[in-house]
Symmetry: C2
Subunit: 351 residues, 2 copies
C-alpha cells in the first residue's frame, strides 16, 4: 500500500479501523453502564466526533475553549465538557457565547477560576455546571483532598451563575483502586455536605479496558483509543492492526547499508517518546528502529536497511494525538482506498 496519489509526508487515517475502535470501546462501556465522552484531542475532526456520538457517546471533551468552538462549528455536537481551568476575560467571553450553542460544562480546581466563571455567567439564562477537578495521583491539576473537594464544591454552589456539576479526574495510569477510593471518599464527603454529585468523570486510554474498575465513575473520557498508537501497543491494549493513524513517508536517502533517511521528522512525528525507545514503528519492518528525528528528516537504522530511495514506509507514531496537531489536513483512507484530505478543524487551538 504505497498510496501513490498522496504526497509525503502525510498523516493517514484509516476510517475502517477508527470506526471499529469507536464501536468496540462503546460496546465495552455499554456493557458496564458507563457513559462515554470522547476527548477530541486525538482526532480534532468534527466528522469523527459525530461518529462517536452516533455510536453512543453522550458528548465530547475538549481542553480549550477555542477547540470547542472549532469542533461545534459544523453542527451535530450538542454537549461539551471542557476539562480545564478557564481564566481570563477573553476566554470567559468566548465560553459564555459557547453556552448559548451547546450543553456546556467545565471543571475548576481553585476559587480564582470559579469566581471568574461566576462573573461571566452571573446573568446567563441557565447556570454553568462546574465539576471539581481532583488530583487522584497523576499530580497535574486538581484539589488534593476530599475535604478540599467539598470546600470547592460548596464555593461553586454559592456563586451566581454556577451549579456544582460533580467530580472529574485525570487519573494515574494503572491505579484504578486508588482512584476508586479517592473519588468514593470525596463523593461521600460532598454528599454529606448536602450536595448531589450528578457526574463523576474518569478517563484515559491506557486504562480503557479497566474503565469499569472505577465503578464510582459515571462517565469515561477517552481520546487516543480512536486511533491507537505505539504507546498503547506497548501497553498491550491494542495491536498494530488497531492503529488507525499512520505517517506515510518517502525514503529520500540511503547513505549506508544500515541507514535510510525519510522525509518525516519532528514536524510530523513530533518528539514525544512516552517512555519508549525510538520514534515510531515501521509497519511490516519491526527490525527497523526510527532512531533519530530532526525537523524534516527521520533516520531509520537496521542491520540491513533494505530500502531504496523513493520507497515508501508507513509509521505508527509513538503518540497519535500530537501528530494530528502537526498537519492542516489528514488523508482519509479505508484499507488501500484513498478518500481524500480532511481538514484538521481543531488543529493548533491552544487558547
Amino acid at each position: 500500500m504505497s498510496y501513490s496519489d498522496i504526497d509525503t509526508p502525510a498523516v493517514l487515517v484509516d476510517l475502517d479501523i477508527a470506526e471499529a475502535n469507536i464501536d468496540k470501546f462503546q460496546a465495552h462501556c455499554d456493557r458496564h453502564g458507563l457513559a462515554v465522552r470522547p476527548h477530541i484531542k486525538t482526532h480534532k475532526l468534527p466528522m469523527l466526533a459525530r461518529r462517536q456520538i452516533e455510536a453512543g457517546a453522550i458528548g465530547i471533551t475538549c481542553q480549550k475553549v477555542s477547540e470547542a468552538e472549532a469542533m461545534i462549528a459544523g453542527g451535530g455536537i450538542e454537549d461539551v465538557l471542557i476539562t480545564y481551568n478557564i481564566i481570563g476575560e477573553r476566554k470567559l467571553a468566548h465560553l459564555r457565547a459557547l453556552a448559548d450553542k451547546v450543553r456546556l460544562s467545565v471543571v475548576a480546581d481553585n476559587s480564582v477560576t470559579v469566581d471568574g466563571l461566576s462573573a461571566a455567567f452571573a446573568d446567563a439564562p441557565k447556570p454553568l455546571p462546574v465539576l471539581v477537578e481532583c488530583d487522584t495521583g497523576a499530580h497535574r491539576c486538581g484539589v488534593q483532598t476530599g475535604e478540599a473537594a467539598v470546600a470547592l464544591a460548596r464555593h461553586i454552589d454559592a456563586q451566581p451563575g454556577l451549579v456544582f456539576g460533580g467530580l472529574m479526574t485525570y487519573p494515574p495510569v494503572g491505579r484504578e483502586a486508588d482512584v476508586q477510593a479517592w473519588l468514593t471518599d470525596a463523593k461521600q464527603q460532598v454528599e454529606a455536605a448536602g450536595l448531589e454529585v450528578p457526574v463523576i468523570s474518569n478517563g484515559g486510554s491506557p486504562g480503557l479496558w479497566r474503565a469499569q474498575d472505577v465503578p464510582v465513575a459515571t462517565e469515561y473520557r477517552i481520546g487516543t483509543y480512536v486511533y491507537n498508537d505505539r504507546s498503547l501497543e506497548a501497553l498491550g491494549v491494542c495491536t498494530w492492526d488497531d492503529c488507525a493513524l499512520t505517517v506515510l513517508a518517502t525514503v529520500v536517502s540511503v547513505p549506508a547499508g544500515d541507514r535510510a533517511v525519510i522525509d518525516a521528522g519532528t514536524k510530523v512525528l513530533t518528539s514525544d517518546l512516552l517512555g519508549l525507545d525510538g520514534h515510531g514503528h515501521v509497519l511490516g519492518r519491526p527490525d527497523i528502529k526510527v532512531a533519530g528525528l530532526s525537523e524534516e528528516h527521520g533516520v531509520l537504522l537496521a542491520d540491513t536497511i533494505g530500502l531504496r530511495v523513493g520507497d515508501r514506509v508507513r509509521i505508527v507514531p509513538n503518540h497519535a494525538c500530537v501528530v494530528s496537531n502537526m498537519v492542516d489536513e489528514v488523508q482519509l483512507v479505508r484499507g488501500e482506498e484513498t478518500l481524500g484530505p480532511e481538514p484538521v478543524a481543531a488543529r493548533g487551538k491552544v487558547t
Copy 2:
C-alpha cells in the same frame, strides 16, 4: 512584562532582540569573508527573511519546496537554496515552477534524486544548480566519501537541465577540523576531475561563532541564531537576553506549594529536549523546573513555587524552531511594547 493584551498561551517574538542577533552574526561573517544564507525554519516569517537579506544575507535556505513557496509569496526574496533531496513528480513540478520566480539551487546525495531533477529541468530555460550533500560526520544524509562526491558531481554535470553547484554539509557539532578536512579533500578531488566547485555550504547555530574554522566553506546556513533558545544558552553561545522567542503562559492551577500548572504544554513548547533536562527556562525564575508537559498543561516545580492562579510567566523553550511551527501566528513585541500578531507563513509546510 505581563503583556495583558495578549491571550495565552502565546509565542512572543521580540524584534529588537531578533534584529540584534541578525546583525551580530552578519557582522561576524562579514569579518571572515563568509556569505550568510539564513535557514528560515526558525522563524518561518517572510518579514524576518527580508530583514536578514537587508542585513547582508545572500539568500535563504529552506528544507521543503512548500516552505520555499510560502516564503517567497510576499516578494523580496530572490535566492533560495533547498537543502533536501526532492523526490516525486508533484514536488518536482512545484520546484520547476519555483525556478521561474527566484534564483534556485538544491542539493542531492543520490542519483535517483539527480535523475528526477534532470527530468523536471531538462527543458528549463536555465540549468538548476545541484550541490552534492556530504556526510561530514552528522550521519543524516550525504555521500560518505570524497570519491562518492566526485562520482555524484560528475553525474549531475552530465544530466540535461542541471549544473553541478558545489558541496553542502550539515556538520557534526564541535568538529570543525574534521569538517574542514573532509570538504577540502572532496573539493580537491572534484576539481581534479575537472569540475569547478563554486559553493561550499556549511552551517549550524551551535557552531556559529566558529563558522570561520571551516575556511574552505564559502557560505554558512544558520537558523536558530535569529531567536536563540535554551539549547544554545546551554552551549554558551548566547545569553537569556539574546533569546528573542519566548512562550507567554498563564498559571491555571497551584495544586501544592511546590507545584504550579500553566496553560502551555507540548502543543506550544513541544517535547524537544535536545539533551536538556526539563522543557524550558522560566525567565526570572531559574529555580523553577519545567518538569513535565502534556498537550495543554505544563507542570512547574520549585521548592517554593510562589505563583498564584492568573500569574503569567515567560518561558525560553528548549528549541525555538519547533515552537514557531506550532502556532498560526506569533505576537511581535519590542521590549514591553506589543506590535500585534504576525502569521507564521511557512508553518506546517512539510512537503
